[in-house]
Symmetry: C2
């Protein structure tokens, strides 16, 4: 069966039928830009602009130290964690916002390994996001364990093979390069079957894929606030600890904000009985205020509808690339089946770096990952179907005209 | 020799002769407030207001992911570290801004102990800031060492006594409760004489006491950005590693931003050759932008002049408390000699908690630390001599009228 070629008018019709189309108005997007990099830095929610002005001028400037109480700064990590919990299938008191993803990963890996005495192996994947592997490597050194990494498809077999020696499985739910999505329920179950714990990195899923941590009986998770959660550059990250683990969880970095009574200023460390034990130092309050405000955009969002839209945008992108760009040498690095990928589609091309620079220069912003990956992220809250058409049109213009083949685009420094 | 009682006019004359008086105009202080809590949260530099608006609306909103390059976000930790280095006697490439003080403390303590194999003891003081002790306790557990804490006056004797078993001395230069100042040069020399390394916490000295890390041959230091550096609530902290230690320094939390080539996305961790190895995750960019902008206030400040002013304000406060408040039961918890204290003076009073609440309610903001400490901080960039007079006048009014003795002030929740 041959499909009729799609037109821009078809895409406009899809936008008119999109129940989430109105959310775009919640974001301050620049004119003349199609932003397909929300998987790297989410767009600015309009409401954050005024909130930050008030936080700086009123809460800091006029309230000064009193704002810790009067503006409820103290409980911002808990409140923000609770807002994220709703998006990832956790209870409000199982998630807290703090530190960076990497620091939170260090905490949960060190703590999880304490619970797994006598088990010598941590399992991750080849091609996991670098910081996940880097942190795991050094955690294993410190905890006297061995890190084993295998190809994604080999994870289930590796879990079974390592068996009783498997302490922790540590994976990123959606791969940063390919967008490939793990079956969280199946992997978690397989790990539990051999007595292992699972640490999930949700950086590329929180806020776009309706994660169900408790439904999957997950143990631990971390994720960042600056991608699909739109919390701003370097926004605080979050950490999830399943209720059954909290009371005994051992935190390696025993800072005062994780103390049961931080303002008693006692001599000895005694962890908070709840999720606040994951805190370390004073919260990064300005960043936290931006993230908390940004999360309000999600209050009326049906995550299942957002997931369907992200999948539809990805499917549309693949179809248009095939329709418009056949013969230009692109490969598909992401799963074709939308059920098996997050909200991004990655193409491969040997000249991918220069091509992406040329595409960005014309206003469609994706990014590049070595050696040959062009990443396009589809944040359904502010990207529409006609945007996908326009982005592919730019890509076609760049390819048809060989506009990428200039010294400038070949040499330009990559953005993250 | 009896001194004539001081008057408010005398204090106003001191302000007219103050070479730093003009700096107050750099800060947005609320009307009707005398802010003596800059040692807890520094005041808002006016220039930060516009800078943050631009960072949110322009750099994040319009620049989006491109701002990592176009707005030079990537090197903000290094630039901010270099600006702090000037204030603490370090070279620009020995300091970097990142994470919280507690997280940085964890890094330097874990790394310092790696360098000190065969030495079993970490020495700190009773009454060090809680997070310092808490982090040290758990670091010692992880590194198989013993934490010993002694009274501040016993530190030199303890260094000599522990001798060849002493791995690390870990002290806060200015005590958070009493304002007592260690002789950094003498302590560091004594520690080095027995082969120990020293970790200094500069939270209550950076930006008010002209620290001379390299002049003292210090090894490691950490400090926060939100007190005398005025970087805003929960501003990023900083970490100093002396040049001679950097190349071999082992960092326990091996995140991607500490990697030599973070955007090569390689599989194995390889630390940056320089101070950037102290980084972990993505920088808390909004907080970092506020801190970097706030530090510009220091560009024309002579730190020796700021130190003299901080001492003069403290001397004035003590003199006025004795002149105006004799018989009200206050004790002096800080050293009387200005050379032995940082920029704060702490009083004791059995009803200190309620008294401080009553004083705050009348517009003079200090804070309370259990069990009986009233803290008053003197940030010389925005506090003048007449402010000290007015604060003491409020304190006198509260005491003479027993205005603190109400259920409201006895019950109110303390601020940090």
């Amino acid at each position: 069966m041959t499909q009729a070629p799609l037109t821009r008018a078809d895409c406009e019709a899809m936008d008119r039928a999109d129940p989430l189309a109105g959310k775009r108005g919640d974001f301050a997007l620049p004119e003349g830009v199609i932003y397909l990099d929300g998987n790297s830095l989410g767009a600015l929610p309009r409401r954050v602009v005024g909130r930050m002005q008030a936080a700086v001028a009123e809460e800091w400037g006029n309230g000064l130290i009193r704002s810790w109480n009067d503006a409820d700064w103290y409980l911002a990590p808990q409140r923000t964690g609770a807002a994220i919990a709703r998006l990832i299938g956790a209870d409000a008191d199982e998630v807290i916002a703090c530190d960076s993803t990497s620091v939170n990963l260090f905490k949960v890996l060190m703590g999880a390994l304490r619970q797994q005495q006598g088990r010598g192996t941590v399992l991750s994947e080849n091609g996991n996001f670098p910081t996940d592997v880097y942190v795991s490597q050094r955690v294993c050194d410190q905890a006297g364990r061995t890190l084993v990494t295998v190809d994604p498809a080999e994870v289930p077999a590796a879990i079974a093979r390592i068996g009783a020696d498997l302490a922790v499985v540590h994976l990123t739910q959606v791969n940063y390069k390919t967008g490939r999505l793990y079956d969280m329920a199946a992997i978690t179950r397989a790990a539990h079957d051999v007595g292992a714990l699972v640490v999930w990195d949700l950086c590329h899923s929180a806020g776009t894929v309706p994660v169900d941590l408790n439904g999957c009986a997950a143990d631990f998770a971390v994720g960042c606030g600056y991608k699909y959660l739109n919390g701003g550059p370097g926004a605080p990250a979050f950490v999830y600890v399943a209720r059954r683990h909290v009371a005994d969880f051992w935190q390696p970095i025993s800072g005062w904000h994780g103390h049961a009574r931080p303002f008693a200023f006692g001599h000895d460390y005694a962890p908070d009985p709840g999720i606040a034990r994951m805190l370390v130092g004073t919260a990064s309050q300005l960043g936290l205020i931006a993230l908390e405000e940004a999360l309000k955009v999600f209050e009326d969002v049906d995550m299942q509808a957002l997931r369907r839209k992200g999948q539809a945008l990805g499917d549309l992108f693949i179809r248009l690339v095939e329709q418009e760009l056949g013969g230009h040498g692109f490969g598909l690095a992401s799963p074709r089946d939308a059920a098996e990928r997050g909200s991004q589609v990655s193409l491969t091309h040997p000249e991918g770096y220069a091509i992406m620079q040329a595409v960005i220069a014309r206003g469609a912003i994706g990014d590049f990952r070595a050696p040959d990956i062009l990443r396009f992220g589809f944040a359904g809250l502010y990207i529409g179907h006609a945007d996908i058409w326009d982005a592919v049109a730019i890509l076609r213009e760049v390819m048809d005209g060989r506009l990428w083949d200039t010294p400038e685009f070949r040499a330009k420094k990559a953005v993250t």
